[in-house]
Symmetry: C2
Subunit: 596 residues, 2 copies
């Protein structure tokens, strides 16, 4: 069976049937679009992903970048794929016409990206990072910088990077120590950056690094960090010339191998020029725009890799004969395909619930982003922004964490074959692990969710979320979804809401440690509830489609089974987690380093 990467039926069902993405067409910003232009964009990406990218999976994994004479050289296959990817216009798909974009909703460009990421996350790293960097310049850069850089970046002639991390400053960006010394219209940059994805390669004419650095005399900590555009080659009188950006090392990642991870040395020769983007000392808040987009992209990667792995194991389970049913063990009978075994179906249904539930949340979040930017009224935009902010840590971490578990199940279903490099799951298994680490570890997402997001705006985000859930429950009831499912979600949502108020109060009373100690459990129970919300939405849409006589009966039955799975096997895990947070079980809070 050919791996479809994603189920086309599911992408369309979720975008339109579940989430009503067509309603975006009523907004002025998207008025030149139609369902047809949306679908055309997605299907071009899907075809390219399936026919050109996915077949190169093993080859790209086995031919990582090499550092030769101070430059990073990438696989010849990337040189073949990259120009075609550029031509599709994926980099600027969601940017406005006026800067050369296609002015598509983020929800649509994300759906298209999912296919490309599923086919190869490393390849998609190049356009993804370039889009993020260009968006930063578009938003915060001077007119001069925009004029020089936006067009070549949107066309993919230049690529972009995020150059945040330093050897001693990863999660703690307050400790960035790269320096910037004023020198006329620019600054002289010096320092070292590590783990810079796409930090060097021989694919594009130029590389534009978005660099966090500290202007001389700046305050210490996060409030003294500024953002700079530091190109590998700068514009000189006779064209592009070197900008003293050196490659001092290549990191050997265990997955995403086609995307080089580079150690950069900036200004070793004293002549590395950077141009300020945004106001001085506001680098972190500018960068957070890119980081939030990157977090949603990480969530998309988590969904995409879990999806390709799911479909690989689904195909295998349909074809691999092994054993017989507990109810008919006669050895004279032929063996059955392993999908006939209940425990294999459990692993498949769990994957389906994670993959499709995660995708539903991802596209929901992308739609909030679209409405936050383009909804008709300021009130609607703010409402969507609040929900976008709230859901971003979940959209980032759920597909990373549960998507990893899901990917591991795909390997497990392959049995001994799954443990070999003759089959693909071991690649997905390595690719997926990155998603819980980059762009803020899962631990950081938990702290962000509980420490900032749910308590933001004096609880407005949680109230908006409760309204969304209430609306979903109404829709589900109208569609004829089982009352017990609706009640399960309502009950969990109330528990989460009450717990959140208690924890917020604990924080306000000065017990920050007690508020945040179980942030990992909070993230898990919150995410489980969020995904249950999406599955109730999916169930409602499935019932609606059935009622309207859809011919996709099997597909819709599968949706209801997956919804049942999540609502009845996962959601009941929430109360024990709520108790942990509430009682603040203190084993690791009190555990001293010397006790280990």
């Amino acid at each position: 069976m050919t791996n479809p990467l994603l189920d086309d039926r599911d992408v369309a069902f979720t975008l339109y049937g579940v989430l009503g993405a067509e309603s975006l067409l009523g907004l002025p910003h998207f008025e030149e679009h139609s369902r047809e232009t949306f679908d055309a964009f997605v299907s071009v990406a899907a075809r390219f992903a399936r026919e050109a990218v996915f077949p190169a999976t093993r080859a790209l994994d086995e031919d990582p970048p090499r550092l030769v004479d101070g430059r990073v050289l990438v696989s010849p296959r990337l040189h073949t794929l990259w120009p075609k990817l550029r031509e599709m216009g994926v980099i600027a798909a969601a940017r406005p016409f006026e800067v050369g974009g296609q002015q598509l909703p983020l929800a649509i460009s994300t759906a298209a990206s999912l296919y490309l990421m599923a086919a190869n996350p490393a390849l998609f790293g190049f356009p993804g990072l370039t889009a993020g960097a260009a968006h930063l310049i578009e938003e915060f850069g001077s007119e001069a910088l925009k004029a020089l850089y936006l067009e070549p970046m949107h066309e993919g002639r230049f690529t972009g990077t995020m150059a945040l991390t330093e050897p001693h400053a990863g999660s703690s960006l307050a400790d960035v120590s790269t320096r910037a010394r004023p020198a006329g219209d620019h600054y002289l940059i010096s320092g070292s950056k590590i783990f810079i994805s796409g930090g060097d390669q021989d694919l594009s004419e130029n590389i534009v690094h978005m660099v966090l650095a500290r202007i001389e005399g700046a305050p210490s900590g996060i409030r003294g960090v500024s953002l700079f555009l530091v190109p590998r080659l700068r514009f000189g009188v006779s064209g592009l010339e070197p900008n003293d950006v050196g490659v001092s090392g290549l990191i050997h990642k265990i997955g995403w191998k086609a995307l080089p991870s580079v150690v950069l040395s900036l200004g070793e020769g004293g002549d590395c020029r950077g141009w300020l983007v945004g106001a001085p000392h506001q680098g972190i808040s500018c960068m957070f725009q890119m980081m939030n987009e990157a977090r949603i992209m990480v969530g998309a990667n988590g969904v995409a890799t879990a999806s390709v792995a799911y479909h690989e194991s689904l195909g295998y389970a349909r074809e691999r004969p092994q054993g017989r049913l507990a109810t008919s063990k006669d050895p004279q009978l032929p063996q059955v395909p392993i999908i006939e075994h209940a425990d294999v179906r459990r692993m498949l249904l769990r994957q389906k619930a994670i993959v499709e539930g995660g995708m539903s949340l991802l596209l929901q979040t992308a739609l909030y982003a679209d409405r936050a930017s383009h909804a008709a009224t300021e009130g609607e935009r703010q409402h969507a922004q609040v929900l976008l902010d709230l859901l971003t840590p979940v959209t980032k971490s759920f597909p990373a964490e549960k998507g990893f578990e899901s990917t591991v199940l795909a390997l497990q279903i392959h049995g001994g074959y799954g443990y070999t490099s003759e089959y693909l799951p071991e690649i997905f298994f390595r690719e997926q692990k990155l998603n819980s680490i980059h762009e803020g570890t899962t631990g950081i997402q938990g702290l962000d969710l509980l420490g900032r997001k749910v308590v933001a705006h004096n609880g407005a985000a949680m109230r908006a979320f409760a309204e969304e859930i209430a609306r979903t429950c109404e829709r589900a009831a109208a569609a004829g979804v089982a009352a017990s499912w609706i009640g399960a979600l309502t009950g969990a949502a109330v528990e989460v809401s009450e717990l959140t108020k208690e924890l917020a109060q604990r924080g306000r009373s000065g017990d920050v440690e007690g508020m945040l100690c179980h942030s990992a459990d909070y993230l898990e129970l919150f995410s489980t509830t969020v995904i249950a919300w999406q599955w109730l939405l999916q169930a409602a849409a499935a019932r609606e489609a059935m009622a309207s006589g859809s011919s996709e009966r099997d597909f819709l039955e599968g949706k209801l089974a997956a919804a049942q799975y999540w609502l009845r096997t996962e959601l009941p895990r929430v109360p024990a987690l709520v108790t942990l947070c509430r009682e603040n079980e203190d084993s690791y809070l009190t555990m001293r380093p010397s006790w280990f």
Copy 2:
């Protein structure tokens, strides 16, 4: 910090303080031993593992076996390590003096093995498989076979394998199709075997394959499978001569790389001789002795790999500075080691609870095996055997599944560095994944536990287990362990016991599907309770040691914290799982293949 592989304090504390392994010295079989001979054996293994094996980790991973002219050649490093390992006498450590063994308890030889497995699971595969094969010959082989093979196997001049799996028959051994045709004192074997660990190599003089095959005219299914000894070289008039055992392929595993996984072709030239071991058609029940030992060895590997990974991340967390505490964010202050962050301590304590709880169960199981063979009375031996049988699927699968999760946490603690091959966790991550697959997948263990073990002997195993728990609770109460911890275990044990009766009744009433549908959840809830039992035992022993004025105060406080963690954060997950099994939530039972 040097990685200790295992914490010596913990090994001694668990063996003697928690499990009372010294009581074995009162049994006639072990009367020539002493605490000193036990400790000497373990410490020699620990030193060799730390000083010689562990430093070769990366090299062994990067130099996998090669197939050259029909033979498998292993890394030169293995040629250096293997003779030293043989000299330590690990192969026959637990076998009687009369067959050249050291007559050590399995609990002691397992403790020693843990260090070697932690240092390199692939290397330990050679003695582990040889010991299992030799034990089969010792138990079921003819005197002639024993005379020829036992001594060279125990000395490691010959190595052994388990040759069960065929391309179409992995989990389903009923479908083994390798044939055996009677030919005088031997049989002529023909067929193909796959995934044969150590199936060929250039380390030992000879390789002894324990092969499942079907005698001509045997009944179909599991009751027609016999066990054969099939050597690579057979004894001929002028010494060892070829036995028509060919290597038709090498499988490229993603971990355990130093241990070749081989495709064998038996009898392509029509002259592959096999000697029957045990009675005809009794191959599966003979092989189950080896398989049960192998399952315990897999559990040991799970513990060992999780342990080395835990210690790697503990060392890293003590040394890696990053960020500041939520309560003192002043950027002028130096960064703190990440172990100071509560969420990092959560990941470390979770690992500790899994590693040390898993090791406690493993050594407990090994002690039952020792008592099943050597206890003073038949009643005591039977009692121990019943508990050994009951716990084997848990001892196999818990360290594999939760040990994998634990190993992933070790990688996560390393952040971006953990995702690179410059650091070790990615190796442990790949090594660990095998343990949920080989020697019966986790799914198979769940079916074995619920479908066979807990219902065996009309509930006698569960009654014996309940008695063990009651005894532990008494000990914990006497030691002054918190009543709430004891109550938590008691409550869970009652729930598990009642659920088991209900499910058994469901099976007896003919609803086998309904009984087994949630076998994965049952395995998880049962395992969680079993590990809680071990942690209550550990807590009791820690309190006893504190009361007797132990100087290891920090270590004992850490034990209590880990016990609290398991009893208060993991055990409360049991009720929701019990409900799933009881209500038999039916999403994947009813899910049809066409609905995916």
